[in-house]
């Protein structure tokens, strides 16, 4: 603890004033709609408000999944696992200020767990799907707790480097224990069949064919909604406020009786749980758990998603994940029309991720959602000030 209090290295004063350290996590600091006051049609209680939003989102998701074609359905299924992992990461990085490049590896833990539990002898029924996903979450949580204990003492570049080593190192275990994890080929995942209730539900709602793809998209969506509901409540609770205190004012937080290390580990654990669930959904949707699927680029794309959307914002994480799903086909086509072959055109997407990370950090560290929110609040503050000036006097 005392180590981290040493002052920042001396910087030229002139440069600092021009670029007052813009915090990267502005989105996380904006109070909820309730706290800012003003008219609101939403209920006063945070839980009720989030429940209302949850129901609205669920209805919206069903409509979206039923009016789109099967290909878009499978894209939306990919969106769900990116969004679940990005949601966990944005809590860790945005709220608690810890960076992790190891979330790809934690997703691998969840994916391999799901794949292993779905592998059964012929004729034998695997465990129920929710239970398997829950086991994946627990496994990733345990691994995350181990990493978190080490990570709690680190920050900034040290943490980035340590989690980078995790992302590069962990897939090697899958190759080493090839008897269990299938080596470089990975494990094929036998996706479970949709239950009858689902078929009749789809028949009732839209009359579309209740295919396996659609079932997986719904599984992903349900997981996503549950995860975001829990995370949103957590962020607005005492726990979320404590994380913010740990991030912003270590000394003040410790004086207020907060055990910094324990809270950092907790943030890592929560985040790892989300990554584990995301990995489980990924294994179902992709139907494969292989080391090549959990490369460093996966971890860095998740980082891109949360930076672009705005660190600490669940909506931002969702929007950023949408970019991860819908941008690659778009730019790959674009590259193809410029005469690049497929493998080269496929690399345009990571290139864009990198450029987005750099540009966002230099020009809009608050990300998309954060920047819009800051503009909106500045506008409202100005209007309120103008209103006071005319009324008072």
């Amino acid at each position: 603890m005392s180590e981290s209090q040493t002052p920042a290295p001396d910087r030229p004063a002139g440069e600092l004033i021009e670029e007052a350290p813009v915090t990267a996590t502005a989105a996380a600091n904006v109070p909820s709609a309730q706290a800012t006051g003003g008219r609101s049609f939403l209920p006063k209680s945070t839980l009720l408000r989030h429940l209302l939003v949850l129901v609205l989102c669920a209805v919206g998701a069903v409509i979206l999944l039923e009016i789109t074609d099967p290909f878009t359905n499978s894209q939306l299924a990919s969106l769900t696992y990116y969004a679940i992992a990005a949601g966990g990461l944005t809590v860790l990085t945005g709220l608690n200020g810890q960076i992790s490049l190891g979330h790809g590896a934690l997703m691998a833990v969840g994916a391999y767990t799901t794949a292993l539990f779905l592998q059964t002898e012929r004729g034998e029924e695997p465990l129920p799907l929710p239970l398997i996903l829950l086991i994946s979450v627990v496994t990733a949580t345990v691994v995350g707790a181990l990493v978190g204990v080490a990570a709690a003492r680190l920050h900034g570049p040290y943490l980035a480097g340590a989690t980078l080593a995790l992302a590069v190192g962990l897939p090697g275990l899958a190759v080493y224990f090839q008897g269990t994890f299938g080596g470089d080929q990975g494990l094929r995942v036998r996706a479970p069949q949709p239950p009858d209730a689902f078929t009749s539900f789809i028949d009732f709602v839209s009359g579309n064919a209740a295919t396996g793809t659609k079932w997986l998209a719904y599984v992903g969506t349900i997981c996503l909604l549950i995860t975001y509901f829990l995370l949103a409540n957590l962020m607005r609770s005492r726990i979320g406020r404590t994380w913010r205190a740990v991030r912003d004012q270590e000394v003040a937080a410790e004086l207020a009786g907060i055990n910094l290390g324990a809270w950092r580990v907790l943030a890592f654990v929560v985040s790892a749980a989300a990554a584990g669930l995301a990995g489980g959904v990924l294994a179902l949707v992709v139907r494969l758990a292989a080391p090549s699927g959990f490369s460093l680029v996966l971890s860095l794309s998740l980082l891109t998603a949360i930076v672009l959307g705005g660190l600490g914002s669940l909506l931002g994480a969702l929007l950023g994940s949408a970019l991860l799903v819908f941008l690659p086909p778009f730019v790959t086509d674009l590259g193809g029309s410029f005469g690049l072959d497929n493998t080269k055109a496929a690399q345009i997407a990571p290139f864009v991720y990198g450029v987005v990370l750099i540009v966002a950090m230099i020009f809009a560290p608050a990300g998309f959602v954060g920047t819009v929110r800051l503009r909106w609040m500045t506008y409202r503050a100005k209007r309120a000030a103008a209103g006071r000036a005319t009324n008072g006097g």
Binding site: R11, L170, L340, T343, I348, P350, Y353, G354, V355
Partner: protein, 294 residues
């Protein structure tokens, strides 16, 4: 016994490369308090430039010099254009920027040169010397690697110890404001520091490529090894980085040489070593300062 000698020798050779890469990271960390995660991609870019020249019929040495020069320019441009705006800001922003650079450069290499494995030549043989009847795993190439890293380190020591520029660079790393008051152009020194670090990183990229294959992501594990080596030495000390690199090279060589199918475990071992060091001696094995910023 013979296996032990061979494993040790190859560990030392690899360790020299890790040491050079760690040194590049330390040079940048000392001057700007940033870990340059893009170092590996930048080095890979120069290696692909060198390979393009070699394939065009140039000699290895011309390609080497052009690659190091392009590393110098790349390092300077990256510092001046991309890193300068986030220097001195929140440390998370700088980390994210270098990671973005890491992905962007790697993808750009793949777009320009393709993602396939391409063999990279080495100017010396890869057959081991023979002593009596036994062939040991000390090849002319590994001698070349060790000698060139040692020469580079000697040049760096000479630069920092005996020249005015080196003194100015040390001053701006030690205390920016004081250096500025004394008339040192701190901004230029930082740019020069990044450029020199990129040259050293580029050299390690070319050395590890020699006699093997290169592809856009071939430096990924070297970033981890370089980082682990640098942390072993405390991130702040050039000597520590070199010793850390050699220790790591030996340790990883023993893992891959003595554990069955150990080559799959090399990256995990680096992770374990890093974790142990960070938990037991977070200041590195040779922590010189009393407090560290982590």
């Amino acid at each position: 016994m013979q296996q032990f000698v061979n494993v040790t020798l190859s560990g030392l050779t690899q360790g020299m490369i890790y040491a050079a890469f760690a040194l590049a990271l330390v040079l940048i960390w000392r001057s700007t308090r940033i870990v340059n995660f893009a170092q590996g991609s930048m080095a890979a870019a120069t290696a692909f430039i060198a390979l393009a020249l070699i394939n065009a019929g140039q000699s290895y040495w011309v390609a080497l010099i052009v690659a190091l020069a392009s590393g110098f320019i790349l390092g300077a441009v990256v510092e001046r254009v991309i890193v300068r705006p986030v220097e001195g800001g929140p440390e998370l922003n700088a980390v994210i920027v270098t990671l973005g650079l890491f992905v962007a450069i790697q993808a750009l290499i793949a777009i320009i040169f393709g993602s396939s494995f391409q063999s990279f030549p080495t100017p010396f043989g890869v057959r081991g010397f023979t002593i009596g009847d036994t062939t040991i795993l000390l090849t002319p190439t590994s001698v070349y690697i060790i000698v060139s890293v040692l020469i580079t380190m000697a040049l760096l020591v000479a630069l920092f110890r005996f020249t005015r520029v080196g003194l100015a660079m040390r001053a701006s790393a030690f205390g920016q404001e004081v250096a500025r008051l004394l008339g040192v152009r701190v901004g230029r020194m930082l740019t020069l520091g990044w450029a020199l670090a990129a040259v050293v990183g580029s050299l390690s990229g070319l050395l590890i490529a020699g006699g093997g294959f290169i592809y856009p992501a071939y430096m990924d594990s070297l970033i981890v090894f370089g980082f682990v080596a640098a942390v072993l030495g405390g991130l702040d000390s050039p000597v520590g980085a070199i010793v850390g690199g050699l220790i790591l090279g030996l340790a990883l060589s023993y893992v891959s040489g003595y554990v069955e199918r150990g080559s799959a475990l090399v990256n995990v071992s680096a992770l374990v070593i890093l974790m142990v060091v960070l938990l037991v001696r977070p200041g590195g094995l040779f922590a010189s300062s009393t407090a560290r910023r982590a």
